[in-house]
Structure formats: C-alpha cells, structure tokens
C-alpha cells in the first residue's frame, strides 16, 4: 500500500478521534500529529508528558517502575528492596532481562526479588522497624552485597514512613551505602518521573562518595556508558566497540553495572548517553559539578554506529579517531554481508513503532539500513525534548503519537497497514491476532543484543524471521473470514 499523504494522515487522526467525548477528544488531539520535518521544535505540533485520560487504555508504567525497574534494578551488586506490598516487585521481577556477570544470590542479585512484604499492621503502625530489621537480615544472609537501595512503593508515601532516617542509621551500622529512593508509584504521570527521582537519589547518595579521593588511576581516554541497561547483552556489544577504538570504559550505567563503577564515574573524561530520557539528568548534573561533557550516541544499525563512533572520536585525539576508523573498517565486511543477505528480503517493508523513551527514534536508522521504512512512531513517556530529536529522524507526513491509547493504536494500524509492528508485550497478541507480524522492542522478544555491529546481525535476522515467517499466510483476521461451514458442527459438539 502506498504511503498516506499529509491530508490523508490528518483525516485519519480526525476520524480516530471522533469516538471520544468532546473533552477527551480535545485532549487527545494534542498528542497526535503528522510529522513535519521543517519544524525545529516539537511543541508546535505535539504535547507530551501529560497525565493520561481516565478511561483510555494507556500503556504507561509508574515511578516505581522507572526507578526500580529501569535505573536501580540492573545495578547488580546492590540489593534493591521493593519496600511495600509484595506484588510490585514480584510481578516485575527479572522482566527486563538486564544481563549481568556474577553468581546470583552470592555476589550479584539482579534477578532476585527483595521485599518488605507489607501487611495490614505495617500500614497501620508504620514499616520503619521492619525495614531496619530487613537490612540486618540482608547483611547476615548476603554478606557480599555492596549496598542496599530502598525502592518505595505507593503506601510508603501515603503513610509517611521516614525511610531516610532508617537508611542513615543502617548506613552507620553496616558501613555500606544505603540509598532511600522516594519513587512511590503515584508520583508523576509515567515512569519518567521515576527515572528523574532515581537520578536524583544517585546524585545525593552515591556520586559524591569518592570526591577528594584520587587513588583511582585515570587515563585521558576514560569514558562512562550511561543509559545502557544491557538488555539481552546490549551494553556488552556496545562496550567492545568503544574499547576496540581505544577508549577505556570505566562505568556502565546501569546494565551489568556496580556501585563502585558509579562512584568512579565523576573521574571520567566524557559521559556517553544512550538512553537520553532516563539518564540525561545525572549527565547534566555531572557536567555542572565535575565539568564532564556528555554526548548522545546511537548504536543501532551500521550507519548510526559509524556516525556515533566518529562523533565520539572527534572529542579525543588522533589515536582514538584512527581507532574509530579502524573499528568501522574492521566490521564493514560483516555488516555488508548482513545487509546483502537481509535487505532483499525486507526491502520496502513498513514499520510502526511504539516504545518507551529512546527506541522510537534510535532504531529508525537500523530499519533504514535494511531498506525498511518507519511510518509511525511514538513514546510512552517521552518529553518534548525527545520529540524535538524525533522530528528530523522521521519521514514527512508520518504519524507521531504520544501516550497512544489501545484503541487509537489499533485504528492507526488498521488504516496504515504496516508490515511489522514493534512495541511491548501488552500490544503483541492483539496485533498478532490481527495477522500482523510483531516484535517486542522493549525486551527484544527474548533475543538480543541489538546494539553494536554484533547486535545488528541479530536484529536483521529477527526482523526477517518475524516478517517472512510463513505462519502469517495462515492467519486470517476474523472479520475477513468467510462463513465457516463448520459452525453447525461446532455448535452440535
């Protein structure tokens, strides 16, 4: 199907909005837009980071998800207590597949769930005593932990527990960092505020720990990888490229990361930001306090990787710049072969994306390298600065949707008819049942890594095996099904 024109896309948005009551229609209209590359600023066309409308099916998470699930959770040698009732931690346990090296339960704790398991009496009488007891239990059972973070769930803020006091006391008693994080789920409109709160907690409780301590030997090529959560091994695929070009990666934030790495980050020369949305706050803080510059980079697809490697190298001397060229040349035959193999099978296919905070714009380059086109994209919890960065990446007259509702997404897909959809688990089965190939772009559908040159080969293979899977020819959407002759038999059985 040919691409929609600007007028058609605008008409489509109007048509989809029609079913809403007037107030909701007015609000949702601000979140849907047709891309116009001539715009410099997204606030002219789209509103973002606003409270979702009651009654619509939003796909967003909460502040606790942003702090425990995204920023703090992957720090492998700390124990993150989900402070409050048991469910928040248990139902999100290990869901993000942040890979790490270590022996779980001995020196690393990434896939385990620690909770204070609030009962009625804790709500009534407060949970501070229980929290203090838990920390000593943790020290006894897991003596190799390097610190504890307290991730608040909703009730903690509601009953007004003083977790900071408990944390300070425990810090003195056990002599390890104990970080209280006020990421109660009701704060903010999405997980985005959770990222911010988590960043602020790192700023206040972790980053200063080694100020004035110069014992860590530095080099002029020290960098920190910030905002890579090592989903399916992403950070490792990124790290190898940086190391091959001659840089020394001091810290990984926070996939496969440790608290010691975080404490050492103020000593680096440059911060490399992959997920801008969740970690730009701490990068800006380090820029101001420690005068460490930061840049954004993108390791999805060979075009963007080469662009990013050169951009990073430009901030260092010639040895690194040569290193960048060497790395690009070294992998060229590999990625050329990947493109030669998969591009003919994927050429011209159209993709719609709806993901979290960086992928709606970062993966566009990787799809384009394979000859595919992204015809619609949107963020669950992006802010306007994310959309500013998206406008130029997307084609003219493509759809942009912020905090899209289940209904809107389905209607858009029915009309735009993409060949592939990239979104999360909640969307997956709806679209598969509609007969449309689908990839989970949060967890890479249990595959990965997708970052770096190694990841690109896996990315291309995954897209091909999903799109060109023969099963899609067998699926017929219910409304296209002919009158089944078996109805009577089924009814009789």
């Amino acid at each position: 199907m040919a691409a929609l024109t600007r007028e058609e896309t605008e008409a489509l948005i109007q048509e989809v909005l029609e079913v809403y009551p007037e107030q909701a229609r007015k609000d949702r209209a601000k979140h849907l837009a047709v891309n116009d590359q001539s715009l410099e600023k997204s606030n002219k066309c789209i509103t973002s980071n606003r409270k979702s409308q009651p009654g619509t099916m939003t796909i967003r998470g909460c502040a606790y998800a942003g702090s425990k699930g995204v920023v703090w959770g992957p720090i492998k040698d700390m124990i993150h207590i989900s402070h409050g009732p048991v469910g928040c931690g248990q139902y999100s346990r290990a869901g993000r597949r942040n890979y790490y090296v270590g022996t779980t339960g001995v020196n690393t704790f990434g896939t385990m769930n620690f909770t204070s398991d609030f009962q009625e009496k804790d709500i009534v009488f407060g949970g501070d005593k229980k929290l203090a007891k838990i920390m000593h239990e943790i020290e006894q059972l897991f003596p190799l932990n390097k610190g504890i973070s307290i991730q608040s769930e909703c009730p903690i803020g509601l009953i007004g527990d003083d977790i900071e006091a408990v944390a300070k006391k425990a810090n003195k008693e056990i002599g390890k960092p104990v970080v209280p994080v006020r990421c109660e789920g009701f704060r903010g409109v999405s997980q985005s505020l959770g990222h911010h709160i988590a960043n602020d907690a790192i700023r206040d409780w972790v980053l200063e720990n080694r100020d004035g301590d110069e014992s860590f030997p530095t080099t002029p090529y020290d960098v920190a990888v910030i905002g890579d959560y090592n989903i399916g091994g992403d950070a490792w695929a990124s790290r190898t490229l940086l190391e091959e070009m001659g840089l020394r990666v001091v810290a990984q934030w926070s996939g496969d990361g440790t608290i010691a790495e975080m404490e050492k980050t103020p000593k680096v020369k440059l911060n490399l930001i992959h997920c801008y949305r969740s970690m730009n706050y701490i990068a800006r803080h380090m820029e101001e306090k420690y005068k460490i510059p930061w840049i954004e980079y993108n390791f999805f697809g060979p075009t963007k990787i080469a662009e990013s490697l050169r951009k990073i190298a430009a901030l260092f001397d010639e040895t690194i710049q040569e290193g960048a060229e060497r790395v690009i040349a070294k992998y060229q035959s590999e990625y050329d072969a990947v493109i030669a193999k998969y591009k003919p099978r994927l050429l011209g296919k159209r993709v719609m994306l709806y993901v979290g905070g960086l992928r709606p714009r970062h993966v566009i380059g990787a799809y384009e390298d394979l000859g595919m086109e992204v015809v619609g994209t949107g963020y669950e919890f992006g802010h306007n600065d994310d959309y500013d960065r998206t406008i130029k990446e997307m084609g003219n007259a493509t759809l942009i949707y912020d905090d899209v509702t289940g209904y809107e997404f389905e209607e858009f897909v029915k009309r735009v008819k993409p060949d592939l959809i990239g979104s999360g688990i909640k969307e997956k089965y709806i679209f598969q049942k509609m007969g449309i190939p689908f990839r989970q772009m949060h967890s890479w559908d249990y595959s990965g890594p997708y970052h770096g040159y190694d990841g690109f080969a896996i990315f291309a293979r995954d897209m091909d095996m999903t799109l060109n899977n023969p099963c899609w020819k067998q699926v017929k959407v219910p409304w296209k099904k002919e009158e089944s002759p078996n109805v009577a038999v089924a009814a009789g059985a």
């Binding site: 800006r284 101001e288 005068k291 802010h383």
Partner: protein
C-alpha cells in the same frame, strides 16, 4: 523564577535548559556578555525572554542560575 541550567554548545553559543519544562533553547542575544559584566535580558531562539541579575564576571559554565521570565511567551 525557574532554575535554568546554562552551558556553551560546540559553537560557543549559550544553551538554555529548564528541566521542569523540557525547554532546551539556544540564546540569541544576551544584554551583557563581556568578561566584566554578564547577565541582563536574554532572548531565546523561540522568542521568549528571560532576565538574569547581572554579575561582575562571566559565570563558570555550565552552571545553574535563577532567571526571571519577562514575557508570558506563547
């Protein structure tokens, strides 16, 4: 009175960042921008104006300063 994070970009221009508003703009002009005096009215590329209390030296960028919003913008 928003807190504004100020830094210089690669071209040496002043970049304005207001975290609470996700506002990231380049400053078009600054009333006083010399080694001896810095501050005054700042015009952003989106047309909005802010006011910084003038100081007697260039601040050490990047830095966070309090600014006064002069117009209501759009």
């Amino acid at each position: 009175m928003p807190s504004v994070m100020l830094k210089k970009n690669a071209e040496g221009k002043l970049v304005f960042y207001v975290p609470k508003k996700d506002l990231e703009e380049v400053a078009e002009s600054i009333e006083f921008d010399s080694p001896e005096k810095w501050g005054g009215e700042v015009l952003l590329s989106d047309g909005s104006k802010y006011y910084f209390e003038p100081v007697n030296a260039q601040p050490d960028f990047p830095v966070t300063l309090r600014a006064k919003r002069l117009d209501s913008g759009d």
